[in-house]
Structures are given as structure tokens and as C-alpha cells.
């Protein structure tokens, strides 16, 4: 078994980048058994635009102190319908996607509409933060993200007093995203999501540009995605190209598709079941194959209740699920 399973370690002791690279080199050499595949590693500029690169970040001070999900699981078990509906599709079918160059356009009810390229985004202050990630499908991971607080970006564009929501939009690029091509389209593109402005400004809300010490792989939403750790994973919109500040609650893709199954808020809530499955428990991915006991109770707000519950004071969360 060559799976990497770290024990519970604080974020500061997460395997340094150097050893990640070594291990990957060894795996690659082993798999390729020759120079053919090893060659691109020696010259990072050649044909490996999609290959994650080391990404430096300051420690962000967030760590639930739980065992990290093995990187191999976090980067191969994904939901990213732009590349296909299967869990393995995003990794297998995102090789053509080129996230560079990139920019996010921010407009709507802001004093200073702007377009941010990757350098401008990185300049907003990258931090490494380990968060729990709870998918609406009742599985979860623990992922060391690298990102900047969304509030830092919002400060730059100076939201107007009447702005109440932030709408997000994923790129549409059918020629590089096989899930957006063909006769059958599972979702309407672009994928859209939204947050209330106070949720977007919350210190826990980040825009991630990396994980496990590296830039985001395509399958995880390269080059920049939203991470809202107290909400179900589908709120974490990927490969973002546009943000618009609005007064009205914006549309969100899954809510539009099945409003009885996916709410706008989508706060992790063990007391509100999905119509087709219970949300009371979750399966922590990478916790030991068939027989390892990796099932655990789901926590309200995914365990971030102390920080975020007050955002929803006076709201009935079984109605606003």
C-alpha cells in the first residue's frame, strides 16, 4: 500500500514541499519506468501548464487538529461537473484546461470595479489554513488550503452601502472543459454561486489558490476558487472569472436545479436531511478503505458554529437550509 496517511499533525508540521516533490518524482519514475515521463519534470515550462507548482504562504492559524486527507484522495475524488459528472472525471479529463493567464472581473455595486490577475490576487496575502470540507453527499475531507481572505479582495473594490450579496461565476470554456461539450449538458453554464455580503466578508471565507503547499490542480478549481468551510462543498465555486455585488439574492446553480434539495445558504446542518439521504453522519475520505471506521457525526456548521452561528441569528435554518 503506497497511500500516504499522515497522522494528526499541526499545520505547521505539514510535510514540506520538498518531500512532496520527491515522493511524486519517485512515483512518476516508478510508473513510467523511463525518462519519457521524467523529462517534463526537469523543465517545468514544457507542456505541464497543468502541473501544480510550489506555492509559498504564511501560516494562517486555522487547523482543526484532525488527520489530513491524503493528498491523493483530495486531488482525485472531486465534483467538478465542467469536466464530467463522475468523481474521477475532473482529474482524468482536465488535462487540456489551461488556467494561465487568468483574471477575475469584479463589478456590480462597487465603488471601484476592477479586474485582478493572478499576481494581483496573490498580493492579497496568501495564508495556509487547514479546514474541514463537508460535501453535501455526506463525505468529508480535511484539506490544507492556501488562499487569501475574500474580505481583502472586497475591500479593494469598495462595495456600496446597498450591496447585500456577492455573485460568483465559473469560466465557460467548452473546448477545454469536456463536461461543457456534447449533446447532453447536466447543468446550465456558467456555474454560479452566491454569498450574503457578511458571509463573504467573514474571516473564515477564503479564495483558495493552492492546497498541500502547491498551486491548485485543475480538478480542484484552478487557479482560484471559493472556500467557505461551514457550508456544503458545492458552495465552493471553482475556477472563478467573475464576481458581481448585488442587492438581490443571486442565483446558485444547484438551488436552481433542485430547490427542494439544495438551499441558497447550504450551511452544514446534521438536523436537515437531504431528501434522498441523511446528513447526520459523514464519511471521512481516506480513513482506511472498506473496514476502517471513518464514519463520524456531522457537526452543525461543520464545526465552525462558534465563529459563524451568529450570522444566522433569528433565522429558521430548517427553512433557510
Amino acid at each position: 500500500m503506497r497511500r500516504y496517511r499522515p497522522t494528526a499533525i499541526p499545520g505547521s508540521e505539514i510535510t514540506p514541499e520538498a518531500s512532496y516533490l520527491q515522493r511524486r518524482d519517485i512515483l512518476r519514475l516508478g510508473a513510467a519506468g523511463g525518462l519519457a515521463l521524467a523529462a517534463p519534470l526537469a523543465s517545468p515550462s514544457l507542456s505541464i501548464a497543468a502541473e501544480p507548482e510550489p506555492l509559498a504562504a504564511a501560516p494562517g492559524g486555522y487547523d482543526p487538529g484532525e488527520e489530513l486527507t491524503p493528498e491523493a484522495d483530495a486531488t482525485s475524488y472531486n465534483n467538478f461537473y465542467e469536466f464530467g459528472t463522475g468523481k474521477g472525471d475532473p482529474k482524468a479529463r482536465s488535462g487540456d484546461f489551461n488556467p494561465r493567464p487568468w483574471s477575475i472581473k469584479v463589478d456590480g455595486m462597487v465603488g471601484k470595479p476592477a479586474e485582478f490577475d493572478l499576481d494581483a490576487l496573490m498580493a492579497l496575502g496568501l495564508e495556509e489554513r487547514t479546514y474541514r470540507m463537508r460535501c453535501v453527499e455526506a463525505w468529508s475531507m480535511v484539506i490544507p488550503w492556501i488562499g487569501f481572505p475574500l474580505a481583502a479582495l472586497l475591500d479593494k473594490v469598495e462595495p456600496q452601502g446597498s450591496a447585500k450579496y456577492v455573485a460568483f461565476e465559473t469560466i465557460v470554456r467548452a473546448q477545454e472543459m469536456p463536461g461543457q461539450r456534447g449533446a447532453f449538458q447536466p447543468l446550465d453554464w456558467p456555474y454560479v454561486e452566491g454569498l450574503r455580503l457578511d458571509e463573504a466578508r467573514h474571516p473564515l471565507t477564503i479564495m483558495a489558490m493552492g492546497l498541500y503547499g502547491k498551486t491548485l490542480p485543475n480538478q480542484n478549481g484552478a487557479p482560484v476558487r471559493l472556500v467557505v468551510p461551514w457550508k456544503y462543498g458545492f458552495k465552493g465555486i471553482k475556477s472563478i472569472v467573475r464576481m458581481t455585488l448585488t442587492e438581490e439574492q443571486p442565483a446558485s446553480t444547484w438551488n436552481r436545479l433542485a430547490p427542494n434539495e439544495y438551499g441558497f445558504y447550504a450551511n452544514v446542518n446534521p438536523a436537515v436531511d437531504h431528501p434522498r439521504w441523511s446528513q447526520a453522519k459523514e464519511n471521512r475520505i481516506g480513513g482506511g478503505g472498506f473496514f476502517g471506521s471513518n464514519e463520524r457525526p456531522t457537526l452543525p456548521f461543520n464545526g465552525y458554529g462558534d465563529e459563524v452561528a451568529s450570522l444566522y441569528d433569528g433565522m429558521d435554518l430548517t427553512v433557510n437550509f
Binding site: M1, R3, A72, D73, S76, Y77, Y81, T85, K87, G88, E137, W139, F184, P186, L187, L257, A258, P275, R276, W277, S278, N283, I285, G288, G289, F290, F291, E295
Partner: protein, 219 residues
């Protein structure tokens, strides 16, 4: 349609080979999962694989008689094995769900079966399959006589339940669900038009041949 026919003496062996090959996906994937080689969500991967193979074997079971009607190839000897493989895959799918996924939490399972429609429908399919599996032997066929045929027509609602259960289990219905549900719909619809097709075929053959001998009806 002349096809190189398998010599009769190999028929029993070919049926056993079908059982063995048919069970391979389950055995192999169980091995991968038990040894920690399924990346991501091993339990779901296994559970889904078993459900999908159950549907595949149901489709193959339903294909045997149209193949005979339309192409004139008689593979009826494989139909029992295909049907039983479908049953075993559903049973393993159910076991994987009960033991690996829900860890025998009976309260959760009961709630699922009664509260969640797609599971209720799957469960109905499984329960209805049990009498078919139990009577898939020569003794029962002789014992039940014409009742056996009637009983085994349950495979149509079972396959429909399987397809519906699959479509309702996913977040969005995609090409895979449409293909499985479409095939099952066509195979069931075929039974409704089959008689007309056979009459038409017989009529054509009779008019093209002076020897209008009675063709035994294949039922």
C-alpha cells in the same frame, strides 16, 4: 443467420465460464477495496459498481429473447445464468449498502427504505427478485408449469424499478442513466410489439416459400 455455433458438448462449460467471468468485477473490486487500493470513497465505488453490474445483467437477460426473435440466434441457455448474476449483484449491492455503507445500523436502514423513495423502489426490485432466483432451476420450472412463465414476467417491473432507482439516486440525470433507462424501456416495449413483429416475419417467410410449414412459436 449462420454464426459459428458452439459445439453442444461445450455448452455446460460455457455457462459455468459465464458465471465465473460475470462475478469477476465484484471479486476484483472487492479485492482492491479490501486492500486499500480504491482511491477516494471505496465503499461508494464498490456499492455503485455492484448496482451498475446488476443493471447490466438485467439488460443482458432481457436481450436474449429479442436476439432470438430478430437475429435467430438462440442463447436461451445463458439466460438463467444472466438472470442469477443480476440477482447476485443486487444482493451484493444490498449487502454492501447494509454492511459497508450503513454498518448494520438497522434504524438508519429502515428509515432509508421507508422514507427515501429511490431506496424504496430499489428494495421492491430486490424483494421481487428473490422468488425469481429461488425458482431458477429445472425442478421449479416443472413444478410450476405455466405459472413459472407468469411468475418470471416479474422481471419487467423489476428492471423498470432498477432503472428508476438508478435515475433517482443521482444528483443529475446524465447520459449513463439515459442509456440504461432507455435500453430497459426499449426491451420492455419490445415485448408489447413482439407478437406483431413475429406475425409479420412469419407472413413474409410464408409468402416467399411454397412450403408454408408451421413455424413453432417460440415462447
Amino acid at each position: 443467420m449462420p454464426l459459428p455455433a458452439l459445439p453442444k458438448r461445450y455448452h455446460p462449460a460455457s455457462i459455468w465460464a459465464l458465471y465465473a467471468v460475470g462475478l469477476l468485477p465484484a471479486v476484483w473490486t472487492f479485492y482492491l477495496g479490501a486492500t486499500g487500493q480504491l482511491i477516494g470513497n471505496p465503499v461508494k465505488i464498490f456499492e455503485h459498481l455492484l448496482g451498475e453490474w446488476a443493471l447490466r445483467f438485467m439488460i443482458l437477460t432481457l436481450l436474449i429473447s429479442p436476439i432470438r426473435d430478430v437475429l435467430g440466434i438462440n442463447w436461451v441457455r445463458y439466460r438463467r445464468a444472466l438472470g442469477l448474476l443480476a440477482f447476485w449483484y443486487v444482493a451484493m449491492h444490498f449487502l454492501a449498502y447494509m454492511v459497508l455503507d450503513k454498518r448494520l445500523a438497522i434504524d438508519v436502514i429502515v428509515e432509508d427504505v421507508f422514507k427515501r423513495w429511490f431506496i424504496t423502489i430499489g428494495m421492491a426490485g430486490f424483494v421481487l427478485l428473490i422468488p425469481l432466483a429461488l425458482t431458477s432451476n429445472r425442478w421449479s420450472i416443472r413444478r410450476l408449469g405455466p405459472g413459472w412463465n407468469k411468475l418470471h414476467r416479474l422481471i419487467y417491473p423489476i428492471a423498470a424499478a432498477g432503472a428508476l432507482h438508478y435515475c433517482l439516486s443521482v444528483k443529475v440525470i446524465g447520459p449513463e442513466q439515459l442509456i440504461y433507462a432507455g435500453l430497459i424501456t426499449i426491451l420492455i416495449a419490445w415485448r408489447l410489439v413482439r407478437r406483431h413483429y413475429m406475425d409479420w416475419k412469419r407472413g413474409k417467410r410464408q409468402s416467399s416459400s411454397e412450403l408454408a410449414s408451421a413455424i413453432p412459436r417460440a415462447d
